[in-house]
Amino acid sequence: MPAIAATGLSKSFQVKVRDSGLGGALRALFRPKYREVKAVTDVSFAIEPGEIVAFLGPNGAGKTTTLKMLAGLLYPTRGSVEVVGFNPWTGGSAFKRRITLVLGQRQQLVWDLPPIETFTLNRAIYDIPDADFKERLDELTELLDLGAVLDKPVRQLSLGERMKCELAAALLHRPSVLFLDEPTLGLDVTAQEAIRRFLLSYRDRHGATILLTSHYMQDVTALASRVLMINRGRLLYDGALEALVAKIAQAKRLEIVLQREVGEEVLARFGEVKSHRFPNAVLETPREHAAAASARLLAELPIADISITDPPIEEVIQRAFALGSENGDS
């Protein structure tokens, strides 16, 4: 049985529309006009226990709305959801004890108190036995390196420290499904790494299922075995990231280091010049010609070094969204 199953999930909001100026404001007062905004349209997927799946999509694509529906925060307009065997809107406390929702921009830590006080509050709210609480807190403190910050008021913590404490507070009841919205937003590279390592280790230790959204492709490549690509509320792709890249990225990159300068028109004979600044140059060629082009480069030009790579993942994703939008609009 999948840990998370969404079928035909849709959510639309009624948004008040108002003409500009005082007249518009007055008209809106007496005769309000509404417009229906479709945030999510007919989204279906299933996630198996222990899977880590990433939601990809630009701002306003419907990622967070979907996450909130799965966590039972928002009522869908249509469709159904089952999370660890529960309907999120009728599952009550039994459901809520099995999940956690972490929103990068909204924090549950009590701002004026040290994090340990929020943890103690959660122990009471989730009714965690003392021995379990101590064991879990020790584990989280070790994995997230929280020893030095537990007793400092939250307002004095750095963003990275706060996010780590936020995760600890969200995981003390040991949920089996984690909904994470931008868990690494605004963090420096080291803190991002720490969070990623922690999430992998939490999944491995407790077999948890994780669904996350992120703007950082590193989060996605390091954590997720599968991606759900969503744009304008519609699911465009569901599958492995590598398969998406292979499908979309029809080109390979040849990154070369030259021993002496050559003109751009010379480089252009081997592929499309993406950048050229002596001694470095980046060329792009169709995937099937990459091997032949690199052999010719080595034979004909003074090459100090060469490597063949896929285009940056961000570019691939952008291209995928562009293609998806074209298909969606047509």
Binding site: F13, T64, T65, K68, A71, G72, L73, L74, Y75, G92, S93, K96, R97, I99, T100, L101, L103, G104, Q105, R106, Q107, Q108, V110, D112, L113, E117, T120, L121, N122, R123, A124, I125, Y126, D127, D181, E182
Partner: protein, 270 residues
Amino acid sequence: MTAAARVWARRYGALMRNAWMVDLQYRASIVLWVLWGVMEPAIALGIWWSIAGTGAVGGYTRTDFARYFFALTLVNQLTIAWDSWYLDRWIREGDLNFKLPRPLHPVHEAIADNIAYKARSAGTLLLIWVVVSLVWPVVRLPFAPKTFAITAVAVVLAAMLRFLISFTTGLMAFWTTRATSIMELHAGISLFLAGRIAPLSLLPPVVAGVASWLWFPYMLSFPVTVLTGAVHGPALWAGFRGQLIWIGIWLFACRTAWRAGIKRYGAAGG
């Protein structure tokens, strides 16, 4: 104690402990809020004190006014509820996003917060009253354990009523961005109809008549007059009946608004 009762006791204990610890971070603001709570009845008392200088007004002597407004200050602190402001923020700024996925209805956090706030601010005011009554015998109430016990019941019911009104009004934030304005309007009306500016018996009969058909007298005026010993016999039972009826009506409104509102919730903030 059963296992379930122990869980609830621990939850309420933890919520109130956190509320007090947050309060301790803002000691200066506590003093300001207590001063604010004293200011309005102090001004009203000053005015009535001067009016009653030439003789009793509507049966109220200077001493009666002093006792009335001291009792009003204490009962007000014991029953006031700020929940519409909190709920408005929870809903509009998305704080409900992390309160809703927890296995504890957000109303319990609000109730625990109220108990913590009231215990603290009313405790401070009671202390002030005791100190003042040492030097100003006028405000001393006759020691009457039975009256105090009946007052305690009336105060608890008034606190429940005011909490439900404030919470329900706060829930209007699911529909409008002006929920706190509705509460401000309510507070303005209660100035007259709940007995904040003057004892209800001094109001023109028309106003007192309107008030008697609404919940306002049961929020403040009734428990205050119970404490000062002005209500006896059938009027006492009528007062309790009125409190219970209005608690029932507002409880129904609160549950209906919650159920409808939560389906509309836009989960703001990310």
